[in-house]
């Protein structure tokens, strides 16, 4: 009988959702257009980096260096004079400004080891690092090829054969697409359950439920399964149709295994949604709480920046969040093709976190119910 109640109430939740056209549009948007734009708008690590060159030498070599920068890594460099350089960097027009000194070619051929100055706007962290590496390599290469025409340049015979696994081109859109799906999974599941609970409260229907022979556990479970199902279906669609189809991102591992992981994650996040729904007393409060919870979950889970780069305390605290484990298992399964034998610790962690959250939410739900009526 109890299962039947959970089932019927869940069907009611689904029907309510179907009647909310804006919600449906947003769900569709979140799992299609939003994923697509997030994936394609994310530029490659170094994409069209704005660069300017102060060419004080105006020799064949310096022009060679200028013409060595071209798309897609760099925009075609602006050749400017020294006076413009600072103003352009201040205005944020260039990330890089390369200053080639006068008599650069002459000094080089004379073996005097001249100095080229590379100015980097270090507030643009993402380009600053990799970009300056690229520029150094490009300049060195051009110089070496140029010099080799005149004399032999000795070198050590040790090569470094770099191979990038799982994403050989380090294609950011592969990563962006799936992380966007993951972020939207978390956001939607929290919003759908939490807001549905608050709406029931504002419309007085919770009170109505309470005079019926249903328990808080049944009410809550029904919301959890119904909303989790919606998001799970949307995730499966997004991964197959949008990520694999539209964006042609290859998925290495088992989609089914990933969806099982997603279901576990949804159990945790929908419970969290209910918890927030009992804490907030009105929609605006819920909205703010949502921001407070959602952004840290997304930012610190390892889905946007590597966990290694966070302070250790943050890394430990974030182990308590289901997202952290979900991101780990998603990366392992989808990119590295890992199986259950590899990712079971994450599954276990999410299950434990989910059960704890469910228990907490249920306790709170029971307690606040009596004050709602």
């Amino acid at each position: 009988m109890r299962l039947a109640n959970i089932c019927h109430l869940g069907v009611k939740e689904l029907r309510s959702l179907v009647r909310d056209p804006i919600m449906l549009v947003l769900i569709v948007y979140a799992f299609t257009v939003s994923v697509y734009t997030a994936a394609t708008a994310m530029p490659e690590t170094l994409n069209k980096a704005p660069i300017a060159v102060v060419n004080e030498d105006r020799s064949p070599l310096s022009w060679r260096i200028v013409s060595a920068f071209y798309p897609p890594y760099f925009v075609l460099p602006e050749v400017i004079d020294q006076a413009e350089m600072d103003a352009r960097m201040d205005a944020g027009l260039d990330t890089f400004a390369l200053d080639i000194p006068p008599n650069f070619q002459r000094d080089l051929l004379a073996g005097q080891r001249p100095t080229v100055q590379l100015n980097v706007d270090a507030t643009r962290m993402s380009q600053a690092f990799t970009g300056s590496g690229y520029i150094q390599a490009i300049v060195s290469d051009e110089v070496r090829t140029f010099v080799q025409r005149y004399r032999e340049v000795p070198e050590l015979p040790v090569d470094l054969a770099l191979r990038v696994r799982f994403n050989p081109q380090l294609n950011k859109s592969w990563f962006g697409a799936i992380m966007q799906v993951i972020n939207n999974v978390t956001m939607l599941s929290i919003v759908l359950t939490g807001a549905a609970l608050i709406r029931e409260r504002e419309h007085g229907t919770v009170e109505h439920l309470l005079v019926m022979p249903v328990t808080p556990f049944e009410i809550m479970s029904s919301k959890v399964w119904a909303m989790a199902l919606v998001v799970l279906a949307a995730t499966a669609f997004a991964l197959t149709a949008v990520v694999q189809g539209w964006l042609s991102v290859p998925i290495e591992g088992s989609l089914a295994l990933f969806l099982v992981g997603t279901a576990l994650h949804l159990f945790a996040t929908t419970s969290m949604g209910i918890f927030l729904g009992t804490v907030a007393r009105s929609m605006p409060q819920f909205a703010l709480l949502l921001m407070l919870v959602l952004l840290p979950l997304q930012m610190l889970s390892g889905g946007s920046t590597p966990r290694e780069s966070m302070p250790e305390a943050v890394q430990y605290i974030m182990l308590a969040a289901p997202n952290t484990h979900f991101v780990m298992l998603a990366q392992a399964i989808l990119y590295r093709g890992a199986g259950l034998a590899t990712v079971w610790p994450q599954f276990l962690a999410i299950a434990v976190i989910g059960s704890t959250l469910f228990g907490l939410a249920l306790t709170r739900f029971r307690r606040t119910l009596s004050t709602m009526a």
Binding site: I22, M89, G92, V116, L170, V191, T205, T215, M299, S309
Partner: protein
């Protein structure tokens, strides 16, 4: 009432206050009004009567200008209501009180603040407002409650306050949509005395009322009977009685109905109750409920035998609902005990719940489910066997006459039918007891009688015990016994006839009012009323703003801003979350988003195992970027550990590595990088290359190749603005614009959508407030709040995060002010599309987070973006404020360097507000 008006109506003289010609109105497929043509006479009490859902409310909303005219012509106060110019002109002369208790009030604001808001809207100055508020609250008896929040008032007081708000600007036309529905008899009587008093002092005022109380309608000057979107007849009450030959208005109305509707009507007859078998269905002893200091229910004792219809009467807020909630187990009592069917009430007793049907006062059906789905859901939840459900549902549909609406959503149904549906739902599991909390509030007489016939049948035929609360005296008279309740205490419990007799009164209503007046000791309230009301109008009419002020009156704008600000201050949780939230998020992002990657894990598959190969490994593990893990044993191990994510980098040193180097033979070191996370992969690649080159140079120097290998050219890299290349320094100035977009946009969007959802948006529809005044007024408090938040964030950045503000603070602050204006305007723009708060939250999150975080140059500069992202980035306000924030924080710039970024920001504000104003609807459609 006023005989001269009757004469005027009969002569057909005098211009009507409203003239409708062929007016039709549709909501989707539903036709609410069907070619209505009618003149509503001026200067009198005009009433609309008729069942629910026949178009009374729609007609009133059209006359008030709250709803847009679709077809036909609506002329009010001598002009066309389809003409926006005319609407703006007559707006201040019309007052409209929508249906529902306190729908046009702001629940968190106090009585005086609510009144003050409306006074300001109509341009009264401080003295004028104080005088009017004093007079109005004096007349309505609200004066002692000036500082009580409107949401905490009882139903009757809410209606009085609503009326005060409507009357504050001396309207020429007062439109009241079922103002006394759900209000107790005493308050109702006071309400009409109040209107009569106002009309005495302003004889020219026209009043147009929709009502469900026929005894009220009988006292009006002119009535229009409506059914099915049409006007059946209009005349004076006497005229209606005369032309139909009926004795009461109720009977007259029924005779006016078309034949097929009249056929079903029968008067309610109550057969005598069989002898009491002494078995109590409900029993309560000393039931008490306290909320803090306030005692809502004070030692209530009740005993209701099985099969009785027990009426529960009392003034609004006297504790009826609380008592019912305690009986159903919804609220645990503070003191005392209650039994249902001999079992003590226990919230965990699911078996007893199954024997009880409860219908709460606030309509609580699932509005997203159709009538059939509602019935079926409830049948299932009450564990009606699956095989019986369709039959049971059909039985209910037949019994409660729901066949025509079976696949409709409850929201689309008139109140009377919804209440019928509620009862059907409460009955579907065939309970032995029904607890009904004001089930007939707002239901028309015909439907009410039908409802009662069903109750009587349930009680007498099926022996169902019925515990019902009501405000209708004719319903109370039908009960076997009634209790009168006041201020948490039961005053008297007896049969209706005995109560009338004991009191020596003529009717039950008189007896009831006498009991209430005795208990509350406010018999003299009526005297004060008329006296004080005369002073309201002493100063004459309102001052109509002239010239440009008609389009944009700063006073009205400030009035909205003040009110929004007050509401915000009343919600300390929202306020703290808004401020504290930004701070917490700043910590999260400041420390969380870091692009300097350190402590990357790597492991080595060393097939050489010489000092040279170990030296190479040491070179890696010695750097601060890498941490070494146990060595790799073979390729399978390498593969497994990379899949697990245990290592981000694997190095393979070939056999004979040291030997080959010594012989000058080419060797190749293999490096595998985990590319699952591209940014990290990229960083690892850079580090490995760098470290490799460094190792080569060191080896070369040791090997004596000298300078040549050290490089032909010296590249000197200067990391400007952030010489240590610290993420924190780069991120903190970028996080401020992000946070100042998300939170202000969401707050602003919700502030508008919330009014839409809760109904107070009607005040914007029917007052002279223009779109710009409304929007800017709403925006203002959030701009202030967001600017405070900006100051707080900047302070934190400088102190806690230690990110120096090198440039001009004033420039930054000016940019921030423009920016939070734009951010709140983005929220307002989003709000014009959204109807529900959930959608607004979700929509704002989706529409602000992605552009602000990804397309505005926070991580990658806009010039490096492509496609749609680039386009959005170029115009999104965050991009430009980010330039200002980074410029002032990191680059030591001031206004002259950054003026280019100010221009788009300054443009964004008027563009966004203009768009919002263009899209915001001034009328409901």
């Amino acid at each position: 009432m006023s005989r001269d008006v009757h004469a005027q109506i009969e002569d057909g003289g005098g211009a009507p206050v409203a003239r409708l010609r062929d007016v039709s109105l549709r909501y989707g497929k539903v036709r609410a009004l069907d070619e209505v043509t009618i003149d509503i006479p001026a200067g009198c009490m005009a009433g609309l009567i008729g069942p629910d859902g026949v178009g009374k409310s729609s007609l009133l909303a059209l006359v008030a200008g709250a709803r847009a005219v679709q077809t036909g012509q609506v002329a009010v106060l001598g002009g066309d209501m389809a003409d926006a110019h005319h609407r703006r002109g007559v707006g201040p002369r019309i007052a409209y009180m929508p249906q529902g208790l306190g729908r046009n009030l702001y629940p968190t604001l106090t009585v005086s603040e609510n009144l003050d808001f409306f006074g300001r809207l109509f341009g009264h100055d401080g003295g004028e407002r104080a005088r009017r508020i004093d007079a109005l609250t004096g007349a309505t008896g609200l004066r002692p409650f000036l500082d009580r929040a409107a949401g905490k008032l009882s139903g009757g007081m809410k209606q009085k306050l609503g009326l005060c708000c409507a009357l504050i600007h001396d309207p020429d036309l007062l439109i009241l949509d079922e103002p006394t529905t759900g209000v107790d008899p005493l308050s109702r009587r006071q309400f009409w005395e109040l209107i009569a008093g106002i009309r005495r002092s302003r004889p020219g005022m026209s009043v147009l009322v929709a009502t469900a109380y026929m005894e009220e309608a009988a006292r009006f000057d002119w009535l229009a009977a409506m059914d099915d979107g049409r006007v059946l007849a209009s005349d004076t009450p006497e005229g209606l009685l005369h032309s139909t030959g009926a004795e009461s208005l109720e009977a007259a109305f029924i005779r006016l109905l078309p034949e097929d509707k009249r056929r079903d009507y029968r008067a309610v007859e109550i057969p005598p109750r069989p002898e009491d078998d002494g078995d109590a269905a409900i029993e309560a002893r000393d039931l008490t409920m306290r909320f803090g200091e306030f005692t809502a229910v004070d030692h209530v004792n009740l005993r209701v035998p099985r099969g009785e219809i027990f009426g529960f009467l009392g003034s609004n807020g006297c504790g009826k609902t609380t008592t019912m909630k305690m009986l159903t187990g919804l609220l645990p009592p503070s003191e005392g005990r209650a039994w249902l069917f001999g079992h003590e009430v226990d919230p965990h007793d699911l078996a007893t719940r199954r024997r009880v049907g409860y219908m709460s006062q606030s309509f609580s059906l699932y509005t997203e489910l159709t009538v059939r789905q509602n019935l079926e859901l409830h049948a299932r939840l009450f564990h009606v066997p699956a095989a019986e459900i369709p039959g049971r549902a059909d039985e209910m549909v037949e019994r409660f006459d729901l066949a025509t609406v079976i696949d409709t959503l409850p929201d689309k149904l008139p109140l009377g039918i919804r209440q019928r549906l509620s009862l059907a739902v409460a009955m579907i599991h065939k309970p032995e007891m029904l607890i009904l909390d004001e089930p007939t509030s707002g239901v028309d007489p015909v439907a009410r009688d039908a409802f009662w016939r069903r109750l009587v049948e349930l009680s007498r035929r099926d022996g169902v015990t019925i515990f019902i609360s009501t405000h209708f005296m004719n319903e109370a008279e039908r009960c076997d016994r009634i209790s009168l309740m006041h201020a948490g205490r039961v005053l008297v419990t007896d049969t209706p006839a005995n109560i009338v007799q004991q009191r020596g009164a003529e009717t039950l209503e008189e007896a009831f009012v006498a009991h209430l007046e005795e208990a509350s000791g406010e018999g003299e309230a009526g005297e004060e009323q008329t006296a004080s009301l005369d002073t309201v109008n002493a100063s004459g009419g309102h001052r109509e703003p002239q010239g440009w002020r008609r389009m944009f009156d700063p006073r009205r704008m400030i009035s909205h801003a003040r009110r929004e600000g007050l509401e915000l201050r009343r919600d300390p949780i929202r306020l703290t979350l808004a401020l504290l939230g930004s701070v917490i998020l700043m910590f999260v992002m400041g420390y969380g988003i870091s692009l300097d990657v350190e402590d990357l894990t790597f492991a080595v598959l060393d097939r050489d195992q010489t000092t040279v190969s170990r030296d190479y490994t040491l070179n890696l593990s010695g750097s601060r970027y890498f941490v070494e893990r146990p060595p790799i044993t073979d390729y399978a191990d390498l593969d497994r550990r990379m899949r697990e994510g245990d290592i981000s980098l694997a190095i393979e040193i070939p056999p004979g590595f040291a030997r080959d180097i010594a012989r000058g033979r080419r060797v190749e070191i293999g490096a595998w990088i985990d590319g699952a996370m591209p940014t990290r992969g990229e960083t690892v690649r850079g580090y490995v290359q760098g470290i490799h080159a460094h190792w080569l140079a060191t080896r070369a120097r040791e090997a004596g190749y000298g300078e040549a290998v050290a490089g032909l050219v010296n590249i000197e890299t200067r990391f400007r603005y952030n010489p240590d290349v610290k993420s924190l320094v780069a991120m903190v100035p970028a996080v401020i614009p992000l946070l100042l977009m998300l939170i202000p946009a969401m707050l602003a969007a919700l502030s508008v959508v919330r009014e839409k959802e809760l109904g107070s948006i009607t005040n914007f529809y029917v007052t002279p407030t223009t779109r710009l005044e409304f929007l800017i007024g709403k925006q203002f408090p959030y701009v202030v709040l967001s600017f405070l938040s900006f100051l707080l964030l900047t302070l934190l950045a400088v102190t806690v995060f230690g990110v120096p503000l090198k440039g001009s603070f004033l420039t930054l602050a000016a940019g921030a002010l423009l920016y939070v204006g734009a951010a709140t305007a983005v929220g307002l723009l989003i709000s014009t599309f959204m109807r529900s708060q959930i959608a607004a939250i979700f929509g704002t999150a989706v529409l602000t987070i992605l552009p602000a975080a990804n397309f505005s140059g926070m991580i990658d500069p806009v010039s490096s973006l492509e496609g749609v992202g680039r386009l959005i980035g170029e115009i999104y306000p965050t991009t430009h404020f980010l330039t200002i924030a980074r410029g002032t924080f990191s680059k030591a710039l001031n206004f002259s360097d950054l003026h280019a970024a100010f221009l788009p920001l300054a443009l964004a504000l008027p563009v966004l507000i203009g768009l919002s104003a263009a899209l915001l609807k001034k009328q409901e459609r």
